[in-house]
């Protein structure tokens, strides 16, 4: 991409957060000046940064913006992003090709289907809390609760046999571990892909009532079954739904420990919990960075023209803190119905597992705080290790708690 003559004055993207529970400060400054701004990426290229909720939603439903991360002009978050094996990844596809795969997967995420999973998710959560309470505090909440719950829920969803869940969980932890090298994380992802490939082969012969079996049957019915693609789709569901949900569990727990009045409000009724979950999703916006696109044609919006071949960054925390839609966005306010947030993205790629995440969070928060009413941070808030640069999703590496 051509370099911009003004690029030396441009904000670098992604910028760091200065306050752990607020988006990076430049988002507000840029929104006030011009909600369509130019920013400079790590590799020096210039891209558009969108900081207004209305523009973010408009652009994320515009078919002239592509999600194809292999496109030469795609705005790259991290070096090597384009070399990952992404066969089967829905978020890399556009248009009808994307829709044809997504439609086969959504049957396993319907509200009816999720309601059937509720008792198992409750059981998984209660077991994790029970195991945590058997340990001598302080305990790392991330390892004890935030990571195991979504990992086991995804095992349940995909149909990973009980005896293989340890293998599965160990690798899902490595993928999120800041002390492991990029190579270790890639190796773990590759091992999981290979494992899921084996699982797909088993489900071909012995189908059960799980997502992988359902996908095989549906792909066969329409005549497009490809085992490698099915394993890749399963891997993406794991990668998309694991660390993100874990981050929400950790951040939401810390936010509640800092706000006892809000915690009481959250626990007051199922509807209050629903509102709290929605507001926490908006407020934390953990999946802030992956909403990027590349323009395939010129797009005129907000007095600017995004030219074909230009990258577009649409961080969810910028849209979710737009005061035009969320008055006093810096206030964690459970009395607002925050459903217009774009914490799960917007448009055709909006998170496939969003309602599963809502269900998990609405189970985990009340279960934790009612089972462990004396829960507290075992370290000062200021010392909590928030995920800063180098992470695709925002969250906490570790939360030492006691009770």
């Amino acid at each position: 991409m051509a370099s911009n003559p003004d690029s030396q004055e441009l904000v670098s993207w992604p910028p760091p957060r200065s306050c752990p529970f607020q988006p990076p400060p430049p988002y507000k400054e840029l929104r006030d000046r011009d909600p369509l701004s130019r920013v400079r990426l790590n590799d020096g290229t210039v891209a558009w940064l969108i900081t207004r909720h209305a523009y973010t939603r408009q652009l994320l439903t515009d078919s002239r913006l592509s999600s194809d991360r292999t496109h030469p002009d795609y705005p790259e978050l991290a070096p090597g992003q384009k070399t990952v094996n992404t066969q089967g990844f829905l978020s890399w596809l556009d248009g009808e090709e994307h829709a044809s795969h997504r439609r086969l997967a959504i049957g396993d995420f319907t509200l009816h289907r999720l309601a059937q999973m509720r008792p198992r998710i409750q059981e998984i959560t209660d077991n994790a809390i029970g195991n945590m309470l058997e340990q001598e505090p302080p305990v790392d909440l991330v390892r004890a609760l935030s990571l195991p719950v979504p990992s086991l829920v995804i095992c349940e969803l995909l149909g990973v046999p009980y005896e293989e869940r340890r293998f599965f969980q160990e690798r899902t932890v490595v993928i999120t571990d800041r002390y492991r090298s990029g190579q270790d994380r890639l190796t773990s992802a590759a091992e999981l892909r290979s494992y899921l490939g084996g699982l797909v082969a088993i489900k071909e012969r012995e189908p059960a009532d799980d997502m992988i079996s359902h996908l095989i049957a549906k792909y066969r019915k329409v005549g497009t079954y490809d085992p490698g693609h099915t394993a890749g789709l399963a891997l993406q569901i794991l990668l998309a739904g694991h660390e993100t949900t874990a981050n929400m569990i950790s951040l939401g727990t810390v936010a509640m420990l800092q706000n006892p009045a809000l915690l009481a409000e959250m626990l007051s009724s199922p509807e209050a919990t629903r509102l709290a979950v929605e507001e926490l999703l908006r407020y934390c916006s953990v999946s802030d960075l992956p909403t990027t696109r590349v323009a395939l044609a010129d797009i005129t919006i907000g007095g600017h023209t995004i030219k074909a071949g230009e990258g577009v960054c649409l961080p969810t925390s910028a849209a979710n803190w737009d005061p035009e839609v969320f008055e006093h966005p810096e206030r964690l306010d459970f009395s607002r119905d925050a459903r217009q947030h774009v914490a799960f993205g917007y448009g055709a790629h909006q998170c496939l597992g969003q309602n599963l995440t809502r269900l998990e969070l609405s189970i985990v928060y009340p279960a934790l705080f009612t089972s462990v009413p004396t829960l507290r941070l075992a370290v000062p808030f200021e010392e909590l290790p928030f995920k800063e640069e180098g992470n695709i999703t925002y969250g906490l590496h570790e939360v030492q708690v006691a009770w």
Partner: protein, 82 residues
């Protein structure tokens, strides 16, 4: 005048199944009117819902990521309305 009508108007709700991508936001927001079928596609259970649901219906239409939900106010064709 029944609860379905306001000043001779009727609410008409539709989901464009071809566009629907199964996010389930409409069924989550107004379960009285929308339901996800087993394939994840939203169907309208009550195409002329009562007026008191209008705000929730407009929200459902607004947050649909596939822009597949339409909510319109139309003049009632019911002759009894006068």
């Amino acid at each position: 005048v029944t609860a379905r009508r306001t000043a001779g108007q009727v609410i008409r709700v539709a989901v464009e199944a071809r566009r629907c991508l199964g996010a389930g936001q409409c069924a989550l927001t107004v379960p009285e009117v929308f339901r996800q079928n087993d394939d994840g596609i939203s169907v309208v259970e009550d195409p002329e819902p009562p007026a008191e649901l209008i705000e929730a219906l407009l929200l459902a239409s607004d947050i649909c990521p596939a822009r597949a939900v339409s909510v319109r106010m139309e003049p009632s064709l019911d002759p009894q309305e006068g």
